[in-house]
């Protein structure tokens, strides 16, 4: 058997990430999902904390990456039923239920309208309905629709066949003859990523869930918040559809509760804070959160918590004793433990945060897999290697919430870790083969083929397609135009390919739906026919036309003509592009020899890559050398380091100790490194595991008073302590205006407190919140309490030095919980310290890896890119990226290794040919473009040199917009192409048009969402898509105005959501300048606007376009006519 495949069970975000990491490192993947769609719980969430990213918007690109990867086999509606063999060769039996809908489905939705069965929609937690044939959610993949056969009327015992869906399905893609399939696959390793469920809140009758409609779970609120959810994004009471005025969030519903789940569910504090903040944003007057400890442990979490308080969310420490609903009001009785007062308050909506529990069926799956469960029913992690990924069976790994509650970045990091472990068993690496077809010569004059899709009645029901066809045939450059029923249907795809060959077409335009969902499909059609896939353009006449202008068929037809003409004009100017291939040095460098560095290096070497590890000290092990025991696993720190080091040396890692990196230059695949030991290395990828330093305490007379020590000092001297009474002070140097939570210190403190208590000491802990969030940490908290450690809470908003006084062997503080000023006799004061970022980090600086506001290395995305630096080929592991415990450091190191592997495992890497290109005939070397590049991909010196490193450029186009002399070209989005689109859009009645520039990731997707949600708006908009709003230059904007367009609307992602780090801040800066110019030239400034739209905000998009439409309707004719003259000095060039 070839060891070339890994199975991933569960296709939520963790499973998806594992599949992507595996496949891009050359492993084939079988991705097994029991639901009809991949995506998991993340797809159901509205926004993520603390970034407020639209959840599905950032997940959907990952989903489509999985779908379009031919090395990933997706089996939905499937379950693993048997596993035989051992690590390296498992034979897995899978049972797959029939879907009853073939891959020919065009997603026209006619079947759903026809289906008579009305059922609860599980995705909306039962708050909305679905039919027996349904799509769980709009972005569902693969294949949107499936039939829930148990509820279908065609299934016995329903003996009267219904067949309504069959009758309306024009592409004939419903097949009731499909049967259950038994499949077998041989795989080298298995990754379990089966996710979680929420505790059934009815188990806590005192909280009234299920007895009053306005008592909801957090997941139900997420669905209400989502624009595409059952209430279209409004927070309304299910009882009567009106918004609540008094909203209460209840934390720890079944978590930290012996009666249900004794562990902490880890994410509820943060998502509830997020939901509370959203509620405030929705205009809800009184938003209250009842909490016990706020566990805001991650990067930026504390700041997010503070923000919610600033914006008016009220936090009360307490827990409801009883929640009773009566008519409209919900009465909640609790003790405000800060005031010591019983309160009985009325709310009109209550949101519960139920505990995270193992997903349904995990107990039977583990039997099949042959792995153990832990006492809470999660998959048991052996933790021998310091991580929660390795299970009790070799070759089977776990990631995400099936080993315990976790948030998204921790889950995707573990997914990478599970991929790294699995890759150790993959001996044959393969990638999708390139197609062997005759390549069409595209150098001659354009011969454009246009295919106009009816999409059943979706388009043809509103747009007069024959009229558009007639119009298209007469357009310059069009060699063939044809109307098709369903462009994406398999047979039509074949037809298009055949036509390209037969008619010798050298450009392809498909007027149908969104390039975001269907672009890759037609690009593949072109490729298979031998046509360069970049010679393809799409007109989105469905999402931007028929679906949103139902009442204006004439205008929708006119708009469709414009959209086709815009595509044709752009297509004429498209150039064949070849994916860029960058050679790779298949050698890795790991900087830093702490636990993270050792782990990453060992794994890379085991995968077969030459790996170098650089450590500045003699001894490897980093901070762990200063610890005795790791909490809460109880592993010996030294033994772990020794074991890992042995493993690493056995794998053949070249260790450079007492060495640092002197200089590093280059880019992905080709970094050049000089070490202080005299060695020079060329490496393809770099893992930065440079660690952090313990906080240097100065508080409480530390350094002068021998009775004051830090937790790190204590760790070394715990066996030889003098003095009976030990008092810990938490959060020394953490949780202040400079630093957030240090994340691991509470668990360290609890472990030390337990040890001292077991020795017979009197132990007191002074704290703000006990953040025992990691697996088994809450249990440690409970154990410490059981053993008699005494806990005192001091003021959350004060620094420990302000809240706690230490003098003459006494500690004094105001105990928030008894309301008393308390004196605690203290022989030894232990300052519980966290970590600080390294002051200097030359490697990171030279690599241009940015730092976050606290000084830790900045990841590419806080949710989905916690391991990648924004610089390609550079990965982050351990505390260099932020405070972490050993588990998290090890899992991130493994993930970094998996990501490095995707680069190192191939001799060259391919990149989309979207990188900016410099025209040196025009470049004046002014270097203005250098600072606007978010990736530092532009290098040079003023008036001397300039170079855009192709491998580092991500293609946002910010530089092209910045360039005053048009010396930078963005392939696929050149000035010539965009100007031609503007020309086409403004060819007729320009004053009646609004030119909308939309970015590929958010605002274009937002427009798509308006279409999907069938939100109606006036037909005056003409959307031009670019990768990022930063691509939009003054030239393009003024050209459009000068051509007589009624108005121009520039749209992009919300600041902070930008897919190119922060490129859209350039848009904002430029926009302010344009707007001033426009104003100064006497042009109505309302005609040029900037508007942020997220991918979920279809409504927001539609509302803005409607507003712009109203504006152009009222513009005086002269206003528009005079624009060209007024802007004449700025309109420099016409479309070529």
């Amino acid at each position: 058997m070839m060891r070339d495949t890994v199975m991933v069970v569960g296709a939520g975000i963790a499973g998806i990430q594992a599949a992507l990491d595996l496949s891009s490192a050359g492993s084939k993947v079988v991705l097994v999902e029991r639901e009809p769609s991949i995506g998991g719980k993340m797809a159901a969430l509205d926004k993520n904390f603390p970034t407020l990213d639209c959840s599905i918007c950032i997940e959907a690109p990952k989903m489509s990456e999985v779908i379009n990867n031919s090395n990933i086999e997706i089996l939905t509606l499937a379950e693993v039923v048997k596993v035989e063999g051992q690590a390296g060769s498992f034979n897995v039996a899978i049972r797959q239920k029939p879907r009853y809908v073939t891959s020919e489905c065009t997603r026209c939705d006619e079947c759903v309208l026809a289906c008579p069965q009305i059922l609860k929609n599980e995705f909306d937690v039962g708050m909305a309905v679905r039919k027996a044939i349904y799509t769980p959610f709009e972005q569902a993949e693969p294949g949107a629709y499936a039939i829930d056969i148990e509820n279908c009327l065609n299934e016995p015992p329903n003996y009267l066949p219904c067949h309504r869906c069959l009758e309306v399905c024009q592409p004939n893609c419903i097949d009731f003859n499909m049967t259950e399939k038994g499949l077998t696959r041989n795989v080298a390793a298995i990754v379990a990523a089966t996710g979680f469920d929420l505790l059934d809140a009815t188990l806590l009758p005192e909280y009234g869930y299920g007895k009053h409609p306005d008592i909801l779970t957090s997941l139900e609120l997420e669905r209400l918040l989502q624009a595409s959810g059952p209430s279209k994004g409004e927070i309304v009471r299910p009882s009567d559809g009106t918004p609540p005025e008094n909203l209460l969030f209840v934390l720890c519903v079944g978590s930290r509760d012996r009666r249900f789940c004794k562990y902490c569910s880890r994410v509820c504090c943060m998502y509830s804070i997020k939901e509370a903040l959203q509620a405030v944003d929705h205009g809800i007057k009184n938003v209250t959160v009842l909490y016990m400890d706020i566990r805001a442990y991650g990067k930026g979490f504390d700041e997010f918590y503070s923000r919610s308080r600033r914006e008016g969310v009220r936090y009360i420490r307490g827990k409801p004793a009883k929640i009773t609903g009566d008519g409209k009001t919900i009465r909640v009785r609790f003790e405000n433990t800060e005031e010591g007062q019983i309160e009985e308050k009325n709310f009109d909506m209550v949101v519960l945060a139920p505990a995270i529990i193992p997903s349904r069926g995990l107990d039977s799956l583990v039997d099949v897999l042959g792995v153990d469960l832990d006492e809470d029913g999660f998959i048991k992690a052996t933790e021998i290697g310091g991580d929660l990924i390795a299970t009790t069976r070799e070759g089977i790994y776990a990631c995400g919430c099936n080993t315990g509650p976790k948030d998204i970045p921790d889950s995707v990091t573990e997914a990478g870790g599970a991929a790294a472990y699995s890759l150790n068993y993959v001996t044959t690496r393969t990638w999708p083969e390139e197609l062997d077809v005759e390549i069409i010569d595209t150098t001659g004059p354009p011969r454009i083929g246009v295919f106009l899709c009816d999409c059943g009645s979706n388009i043809a029901g509103v747009v007069n397609v024959p009229e558009v066809l007639e119009y298209t045939r007469n357009l310059d450059g069009v060699a063939h135009a044809e109307r098709v029923r369903f462009a994406c249907a398999a047979n039509t795809q074949e037809l298009i390919g055949r036509t390209i060959k037969e008619k010798k077409l050298n450009r392809l335009v498909v007027a149908a739906c969104s390039p975001k969902t269907h672009g890759p499909t037609f690009q593949r059609v072109a490729s298979r026919a031998g046509l360069n896939p970049y010679l393809f353009e799409m007109s989105n006449v469905r999402n931007q036309g028929s679906w949103v202008h139902k009442k204006y068929p004439k205008e929708a037809t006119q708009k469709s003509k414009d959209l086709v003409r815009m595509s044709v004009e752009k297509a004429k100017r498209l150039k064949a592009l070849a994916t860029v291939k960058v050679p790779v040095v298949q050698r890795a460098l790991v900087v830093g020899g702490g636990i993270a560095g050792i782990t990453a290096a060992a794994n890379l070497a085991k995968q077969g890559f030459e790996t170098h590890l650089v450590e500045r000290n003699i001894e490897l092990g980093g901070t762990l050398l200063q610890l005795t025991e790791i909490a809460p696993s109880g592993l010996s720190a030294r033994q772990l380091v020794q074991m890992k080091e042995r493993e690493m040396r056995d794998a053949g890692v070249h260790v450079h100790s007492e060495t640092t990196v002197e200089t590093v230059s280059g880019f992905v695949g080709n970094f050049n490194v000089h070490l202080t030991d005299g060695n020079t290395l060329d490496v393809g990828s770099i893992v930065l595991a440079t660690g952090a330093t313990p906080y240097q305490a100065t508080e409480f007379g530390y350094g002068d008073d021998p009775r004051v020590i830090t937790s790190l000092d204590l760790e070394k001297r715990i066996g030889e302590l003098k003095g009976d009474r030990v008092t810990f002070v938490a959060c020394v140097g953490s949780r202040n205006d400079k630093r957030g939570c240090s994340r691991f210190c509470c668990q360290t403190m609890l472990s030390q407190a337990i040890k001292l208590r077991e020795r017979g000491n009197r132990v007191r802990v002074l704290y703000k919140d006990i953040r025992a969030f990691t697996r088994f940490a809450e249990e440690m908290y409970e154990d410490a309490a059981r053993k008699g450690v005494q806990f005192f809470q001091f003021n959350q908003d004060a620094s420990p030095e302000k809240a706690v006084v230490y003098e003459m062997g006494q500690v004094m503080l105001h105990d928030e919980l008894s309301g008393l000023d308390v004196t605690v006799p203290t022989d030894l004061l232990v300052l519980n310290i966290g970590i600080s970022p390294e002051h200097e980090n030359t490697v990171a600086q030279q690599l241009r890896v940015s730092r976050d506001s606290e000084g830790f290395l900045l990841e590419s995305h806080p949710k989905l890119g916690p391991v990648e630096a924004a610089v390609q080929g550079v990965f982050l592991a351990g505390t260099s990226q932020g405070p972490k415990d050993v588990r998290e450091s090890v899992s991130q190191a493994l993930a970094a290794s998996a990501k490095a592997s995707r680069i190192l495992s191939r001799a060259e890497i391919e990149q989309e040919p979207l990188a900016a290109v410099v025209d040196y005939d025009k470049c004046t070397f002014c270097a203005r473009c250098i600072p606007v590049c978010p990736y530092s991909a532009i290098r040079g010196e003023v008036r001397k040199s300039l170079e855009i490193v192709q491998a580092m450029c991500m293609g946002c186009g910010g530089c092209a917009a910045e360039c005053a002399v048009d010396a930078i070209e963005m392939p696929g989005f050149t000035d010539g192409q965009v100007l031609a689109q503007i020309d086409a859009a403004t060819a007729e009645n320009p004053h009646e048009k609004v030119i909308v520039f939309a970015c590929n990731w958010c605002s274009y997707a937002g427009a798509d969402q308006a279409g999907i949600s069938k939100i109606q708006y006036p037909p005056s908009s003409r959307i031009i898509r670019t990768m990022c709003s930063a691509r939009i230059s003054q030239k393009l904007v003024f050209y459009a105005l000068g051509k007589g367009a009624g108005a121009v609307l520039v749209t992009g992602c919300h600041p902070g959501d930008c897919h190119y780090i922060n490129a859209n801040l350039n848009t904002q800066r430029r926009f302010e300048r344009w707007r001033k110019t426009v104003e100064m030239r006497g042009i109505d400034p309302r005609r040029l606007q900037l508007w942020w739209v997220s991918a979920a905000e279809g409504k927001r998009f539609a509302e803005k376009v409607a507003e712009m439409d109203e504006l152009i309707q009222r513009l005086p004719k002269t206003e528009v006519e005079n624009t060209a003259t007024k802007l004449a000095p700025f309109i420099t060039r016409r479309a070529s």
Binding site: A321, K322, E335, T337, G788, F791, S818, L820, V822
Partner: protein, 379 residues
Amino acid sequence: MTTVSINDELWDRINQAVAPMTLCYQCGVCTAICPLSGTGKSPSVRKLLRSAQTGLVASSSEAWLCTTCKLCEFTCPRGVPIVDVLHALRTVGFSERKVPPRLEEVLWKIYESGNPWGEPKKTRAKWTEGLGVKEALDGVDVLLYTGCASSYDARLQSIAKAVASILKAAGVNFGVLKTQEKCCGDAVYQSGEDAYLEELVTENIDTIRKTNASVVVSISPHCFNIFKTLYPKYGADFRAVHYTQLLADLLDSGKIKLAQPFETAVTYHDPCYLSRYHGIQEEPRKLLESIKGVKLLEMANSGDNTLCCGGGGGRMFQEDAGERLSNIRIREASETGAHVLATSCPYCIQNFEDGAKTEGKNMQVSDVAELIAASMRGG
């Protein structure tokens, strides 16, 4: 505000008695769920726990407000034995002479007369007159432990009579200690006086041993509880049962024969010391439902969630400051539409009869044993 120093000695003392008190994470559910919290005069349970767990034992008689109903323990997310912690605080308070004066009186009365009301010892068995109840010291299989309330209170004696007549009819070889019977010690325990408690319990164990009875059946759930949980610690080897358990067994084995139907709606109040302390919820209901014609209705709070009558924890001997729990319970009972409120605890009966009067509800308050005995007589 004055500064308080934490007191290690005191803390050690409480921690030795009830170690898991330190588990509390101060969520305050106990304070808010406490039935007294609705009455205007309530202990801050959380703060009492706080003072115990920090060794900041504040001088307060609040610990004696508790009726020991244990509702808080059933909702405590950390599983803290709250009532035991409060008891530990009472013992500390007792040694500091913080015990409420009424309880101090009760202690003296028990010491002098063997019952909390200071009734004469010799009239203790007056209720047995004419019933032909055996003298237990003559040797019996089953000792019926009457308890002070049912021995002396004219209204409550009827329960004792009912139980005795049922046992007799069922052919049980049982007897009563008569004048040799003494307080079981519950009231002593609740005061926080541990030294005298030990003396009393040891004496009672000796007396009971002399009867040769292997089973002690109590009328009061409070006697039953202390027999079952505390007496074994002092060497008791008898089996403690509540009369509803014994009667349910007799019913099962066909030894109780009911004849007279009772066409009425009855609601059953779970005494805390039966339902929450010992999970005895089915037996009394089974007995009630065995009476033909009885329609059993449930109150909003029953079983584990039963609402205390206000009589436990030594509260029976003290005045209530705020609204009485029994009044609240009477209203709940009346909301079911039942005409009879049945229960199986003398304290509850007494409190509810008072409550029915003050609430002006025409509600018959009966003990399960009384209803069963009536139904048997009818045959």
